[in-house]
C-alpha cells in the first residue's frame, strides 16, 4: 500500500505488528541542544550543583549594604537579591519619608507631592494592616472596632496620639458593675447615660443615675469624666455624643431596648477592644511607616 512510506523500527512483534519510527524534527532537536547549552551557562553563573557539604556558588554576585552601612558583595542568591531590591526600593522612598519625618503634619498635608505619597502609601498600608478590623474605609464596626473616619476618639485623635496607639497598641477595659450596683441602679445609670445624648428617657430614673454616676458607689465619673465627655488617658469614650462603640444603641428601635443594651454593657463590663502593637518590639511596621499611617488615619476625616 502506498501510504506505508514511513520507516519502521525494524522490529516485528507477533508476526505482523510493527512500530513506525518518526524521528523528531530537526528544529526540535536543536532546540534541545540550545537548552543544554543554556543550562551550562546557568550553572556557571548561578548557584547550582551540590558538592559535598557546600554547593557551587556561581560567578554572579550581588552588592548590598550590610548593617554597618558598608557595601558588601556576596555570591548571587535570592536572599542577597531581595536584600538589594529592598534597599533600592527604600532608597527611592527615603526622600519622602525623611521629609515627612522632619515636617509638621499640617505642612505635610499641604505639600501636594507629599500628600499624594501619604495617601497612596498609606492606603496600601491601611488595607493590609488595618482594614481587617477597622474596615476598608475606616468606618469600623459597632460592637467591635472603632470608627476611624469620625471625629470621636477614645485615645485621642491628634497625629501624635494616633501614633502612640499604633506603636504600643491598646487594650480596652471597663469593669463589670453587676456586683457593685443593684439591677435597678444599673437601669438608672443607663437612663442617665442615654439622656446625655438627647434620648427621651425616664426623668426620675435618669436623676437617680446622675447621682450614681457622680457618686463613689458608681464612680463612673472616674473614667468617663464628671462631664461624661470621656477621658482619653483611660480610653473612656465620650457618652454625651450619639456615637456608640460597644452598646449598639442606634440599632435598637425604641428607648426601652436602647436602655437594655447600655444596661448590658454596664452589667457585664468590657474586656475587649484589643488593638495589637505595630511598632516597638513587635516591629511589624517601622517608625516611618507608622508616622505615615498616623497621618493617613488622621486624614480619614476625623483628625483633631
Amino acid at each position: 500500500m502506498a501510504e506505508n512510506t514511513v520507516q519502521t523500527t525494524g522490529h516485528t512483534w507477533d508476526e505482523t505488528l510493527q512500530e513506525y519510527n518518526n524521528p523528531l524534527p530537526n528544529w526540535w532537536i536543536y532546540g534541545l541542544y540550545v537548552t543544554v547549552a543554556f543550562a551550562i551557562v546557568y550553572w556557571i553563573l548561578y548557584p547550582s550543583w551540590p558538592v559535598g557539604k557546600d554547593h557551587l556558588r556561581g560567578l554572579s554576585t550581588v552588592t548590598y549594604m550590610n548593617s554597618a552601612g558598608q557595601a558588601e558583595t556576596n555570591g548571587w542568591n535570592t536572599r542577597a537579591k531581595l536584600l538589594k531590591e529592598m534597599q533600592d526600593g527604600n532608597a527611592l522612598q527615603k526622600p519622602y519619608f525623611d521629609k515627612i519625618a522632619a515636617m509638621p503634619v499640617a505642612q505635610v498635608v499641604k505639600d501636594p507631592e507629599l500628600n499624594s505619597f501619604v495617601l497612596s502609601a498609606g492606603k496600601a498600608l491601611f488595607s493590609e494592616n488595618c482594614a481587617a478590623c477597622h474596615q476598608a474605609g475606616g468606618q469600623g464596626k459597632v460592637g467591635f472596632y472603632p470608627n476611624l473616619a469620625d471625629d470621636d476618639w477614645k485615645y485621642g485623635g491628634s497625629v501624635g496620639e494616633i501614633e502612640a496607639t499604633l506603636v504600643g497598641g491598646r487594650r480596652g477595659y471597663m469593669p463589670a458593675f453587676s456586683e457593685a450596683l443593684e439591677k435597678s441602679q444599673i437601669e438608672a445609670v443607663a437612663n442617665y447615660v442615654l439622656g446625655l445624648s438627647g434620648h427621651a428617657v425616664d426623668k426620675v430614673k435618669a436623676a437617680e443615675g446622675d447621682a450614681l454616676f457622680h457618686s463613689n458607689t458608681g464612680a463612673c465619673y472616674y473614667c468617663h469624666g464628671a462631664d461624661a465627655k470621656g477621658r482619653k488617658e483611660f480610653g473612656a469614650p465620650n457618652l454625651t455624643d450619639k456615637i456608640w462603640q460597644w452598646a449598639n444603641v442606634p440599632a435598637a428601635t425604641d428607648v426601652n431596648s436602647k436602655v437594655a443594651v447600655v444596661q448590658k454593657v454596664v452589667t457585664g463590663g468590657l474586656n475587649k477592644g484589643v488593638m495589637p502593637a505595630w511598632g516597638g518590639e513587635s516591629a511589624r511596621l517601622n517608625p516611618g511607616q507608622i508616622k505615615l499611617l498616623s497621618i493617613y488615619v488622621h486624614e480619614l476625616g476625623g483628625g483633631k
Binding site: H11, K53, D54, E72, N74, N77, A132, K272, P276, A277
Partner: protein
C-alpha cells in the same frame, strides 16, 4: 557484549526497563533531596525557634483537620512584594519542629506564616466564626463548630508521636533538664509530656483566647496556634547579611 546492549534490548526486556527507569528517576531525588541532608547551611542557626506548647500543638492539629492549608500557605518567599506585605521571608529553621510542615502551595487566602500578633484574639474568634462579618469580600467559610469543647485527653500521645520524629518533647528528667538549658525553664515545662494536659488547660485559661473561660474550646487551641505563627524569631537581633550567607 556492549554492542548487543541496544535501546531495542531495553524496550523489549521488562526487567531492564524497570531497573533503568528507576535509576533514571532516582537521579532527580539524589540531586535535589539528598544534598539537603549533607549541606551545612540548609537550616539557619537562629535563636528562638521552639516546639509548640500542648495547646498550640492541638491548634495545629485542628488547622490540619480543617484543611486550612488548602487555601493558606505558611511560606513567605524572598521576594520584595511578599516581604512588604507579609513580613520577613520564612526561614527553614522556623519550621524545623513542624511535622508535617504547613508551607502549602495555594493562596486563596493570605499567607499565614507571620499572622501571629497581627490581630487580636477576639478578631480571630469572630473571623473564624463568620469571616464575612469582618472582611466583607472574604470567601472563607464559617467554622462555628470550633466553639465546642476541645478533646485534650490524647494530647500527651500526640506529643509522644511527635517526639519519635525528633521534636524535643521530654519524658525523662534528663530530657527536661536539657530543654531547660535550650529553651528556658518556662518553655521546658510546656514541653514535658507527663504534664501535657495540665499545661494545655492552664495556657487556655490564662490566654482566654475565645473569650469564654468556662471551658477549653477548639477555638482556644486554634487561636493560640495562629497567634504564635512567625513570632518565635526576633529578626531585630539578626543581621540580614548573615542570612544571605546561609544560601
Amino acid at each position: 557484549m556492549f554492542k548487543k546492549f541496544t535501546h531495542e534490548k531495553i524496550e523489549t526486556n521488562a526487567g531492564w526497563l524497570i531497573v533503568l527507569t528507576m535509576l533514571a528517576i532516582s537521579v532527580g531525588g539524589l540531586v535535589e533531596i539528598a544534598p539537603l541532608f549533607l549541606l551545612d547551611d540548609t537550616i539557619e542557626k537562629v535563636d528562638g525557634v521552639r516546639p509548640y506548647s500542648p495547646l498550640e500543638q492541638r491548634g495545629r492539629d485542628i488547622y490540619i483537620r480543617e484543611g486550612c492549608y488548602t487555601c493558606h500557605s505558611q511560606m513567605i518567599r524572598p521576594v520584595r512584594d511578599e516581604q512588604l506585605r507579609y513580613g520577613h521571608y520564612s526561614l527553614a529553621a522556623e519550621s524545623k519542629y513542624d511535622h508535617p510542615f504547613q508551607w502549602g502551595s495555594k493562596r486563596t487566602g493570605p499567607d499565614l506564616a507571620r499572622v501571629g500578633g497581627k490581630y487580636s484574639n477576639e478578631w480571630h474568634t469572630q473571623h473564624l466564626m463568620q469571616p464575612k462579618s469582618v472582611v466583607s469580600e472574604s470567601v472563607m467559610p464559617n467554622y462555628p463548630w470550633l466553639m465546642t469543647p476541645l478533646d485534650a485527653s490524647d494530647v500527651a500521645d500526640r506529643m509522644r508521636a511527635l517526639r519519635t520524629t525528633g521534636v524535643p518533647y521530654s519524658l525523662t528528667q534528663a530530657e527536661f533538664d536539657k530543654n531547660v538549658q535550650q529553651f528556658g525553664e518556662e518553655h521546658a515545662r510546656m514541653f514535658h509530656i507527663p504534664n501535657a494536659q495540665t499545661n494545655l488547660v492552664s495556657q487556655a485559661q490564662a490566654g482566654n483566647y475565645d473569650g469564654d473561660n468556662s471551658r477549653v474550646s477548639e477555638m482556644d487551641a486554634l487561636v493560640a496556634y495562629l497567634q504564635v505563627l512567625g513570632t518565635m524569631v526576633d529578626f531585630s537581633k539578626i543581621k540580614p547579611e548573615d542570612l544571605v550567607k546561609f544560601r
